[in-house]
Symmetry: C2
C-alpha cells in the first residue's frame, strides 16, 4: 500500500505539471510524434478527455513543453552565472549551455521552430543575451544584428532550420498599447531596442527590421570570418 507501481499512481491526482512531466518523458523516449492525447492519458492511467480539465488543448500542452525546456536552460545558466564576465564570454556560455539542454531533449528545436507563435519564455532568452550585449557596450543597432546573426545559437542549435510559417501562422508583432507597459517591464532591453531602431528609421518605419538586410549581414559576417581564417593576415 506504500506505493503504486504505475497508472494513476503515486501521490494524488492529475496536475498540469504531472501532465507536462509525462509528456516530456514520452517525447524524450519515443519522439514528439508519440505525444498524443490518448497515449499521454494512458501513461497517466487516465482517459484522454481528463487531460482537458487541466489543459485547454494540445496546443497549450506543446507551449508548456517549450516553456519547460526554456526553464531547464535558464536553470542551467543561473547555476553557472559569474560576475565580472565580458559580454562575449557570457553570450558564449549561454549558447553552449542551451545546447547542452537541447541535447537532452532533441525534439525541442523542431518543436520551437514549428510553433506558430513564439512562446514568451523564448523571448526571455533573447532578452538576456541582448542585455549582455548592450551592457557590454554594443549599440542597439549592432546588438539587434547580433541577435539575428546568433539566431538559433541562442537557443542552442546551429545548422538547423525552421520556418516561421511552417505552422501556417504568421508571427504577429502587433502589440496592443495596453500590453506595451507590461512588455517594457518584463523585456526592457528588447523594448528599448525596438524603440531605438524605430527612431533611427523615422523615414522608413517599416524598414526597422528588414530581414533582407539582416540576412546579408549574417551571411557577410560568416563569409568574412571564413575568408579571414582562409588567409589569416589580410592587408587592412
Amino acid at each position: 500500500m506504500a506505493r503504486v507501481t504505475s497508472g494513476r499512481s503515486a501521490r494524488g491526482t492529475l496536475t498540469r505539471d504531472r501532465v507536462l512531466d509525462a509528456a516530456m518523458g514520452i517525447a524524450d523516449a519515443d519522439g514528439l510524434a508519440a505525444v498524443t492525447m490518448r497515449r499521454l492519458a494512458g501513461d497517466l492511467g487516465v482517459e484522454a478527455m481528463s487531460l482537458y480539465y487541466h489543459l485547454p488543448g494540445k496546443e497549450s500542452l506543446l507551449d508548456g513543453l517549450v516553456d519547460a525546456v526554456v526553464a531547464a536552460i535558464e536553470k542551467e545558466i543561473a547555476q553557472s552565472a559569474r560576475s565580472d564576465e565580458g559580454w562575449r564570454s557570457e553570450v558564449r556560455r549561454r549558447c553552449l549551455l542551451s545546447r547542452e539542454v537541447m541535447k537532452r531533449h532533441p525534439w525541442a528545436p523542431g518543436l520551437i521552430g514549428s510553433r506558430s507563435t513564439i512562446p514568451a519564455s523564448v523571448f526571455g532568452l533573447y532578452e538576456a543575451v541582448l542585455a549582455a550585449l548592450v551592457e557590454g557596450g554594443l549599440s542597439y543597432r549592432l546588438a539587434h544584428r547580433a541577435l539575428h546573426a546568433l539566431g538559433s545559437m541562442v537557443l542552442g542549435f546551429a545548422q538547423e532550420v525552421f520556418s516561421p510559417s511552417s505552422a501556417g501562422g504568421s508571427v504577429d508583432v502587433e502589440v496592443a498599447e495596453a500590453d506595451l507597459a507590461q512588455l517594457a517591464q518584463t523585456l526592457p532591453y528588447l523594448t528599448a531596442m525596438v524603440a531605438s531602431e524605430l527612431h533611427d528609421h523615422d523615414d522608413d518605419p517599416l524598414g526597422w527590421c528588414d530581414s533582407q538586410t539582416e540576412f546579408e549581414f549574417t551571411l557577410d559576417l560568416l563569409l568574412d570570418g571564413l575568408e579571414r581564417r582562409h588567409r589569416p593576415a589580410p592587408a587592412e
Copy 2:
C-alpha cells in the same frame, strides 16, 4: 467542349507531376497543413485513393515537394551563373538566390527541417557550395567547417531552426559499399571531403565530424565578427 474549367480537368490524366504541382499550390495558398491526401485529391477532381497509384504515400509526396523547391533553386542559380567568380561571391549569390525561392514557398524551410531523412537533392546544393569553396582554394578542413557554419544559409534561411530528430528518425550516415561508388560520382566533393577528414582523424575516426567542435567554431566565427564590428581596429 473545348475546356473543362476545373476538376479532372485540362489535358489528360493524373500524373506524379500534376499531383506535385497541385500540392505546391495548396501549400503556397493555405500552408503545408492544408496539404492532405483528401484535399489534394479533391483539388484534382479525384478520389484520395487514386493518388496512391502515382505516389507510394504521403512521405513520398513531401519528399517530392522538397525536390521541387530544390529544383527551383537550382534553376534560379543556373540562370545567374557567371564565370570567373570568386568563391565568396559565388557562395553569396547562391545563398541569396536560395532565399528568394524560399520566400515564394515559406512552408519549405519547415518541411525540409522536419524531414527525417535529408533528401538527396538537398545534398546537391551543399555539394555545389563545397565545390566552390574547394576550387577557391579552401582546405577540406576549413570547407567542412564552412558548410556547418553557413548551415541553413545555403538553403536560404537564417535565424531559423530545425532538429534532425524532430521527426523521430536519426539521420543515418551508414552507406553500403555498393552505393559508395555511385555517391562518389554524383557528389564527388562531399565524398572527397569525408575521405580527407577521416584520414586526418586516423587516431579518432569517430571524431571526424564532432558537432560540439563545429558548434563552437560557428559560434566563435559569429562572436569574432561581432567583436570586430564593435571595435573595428583591434591590435593584432
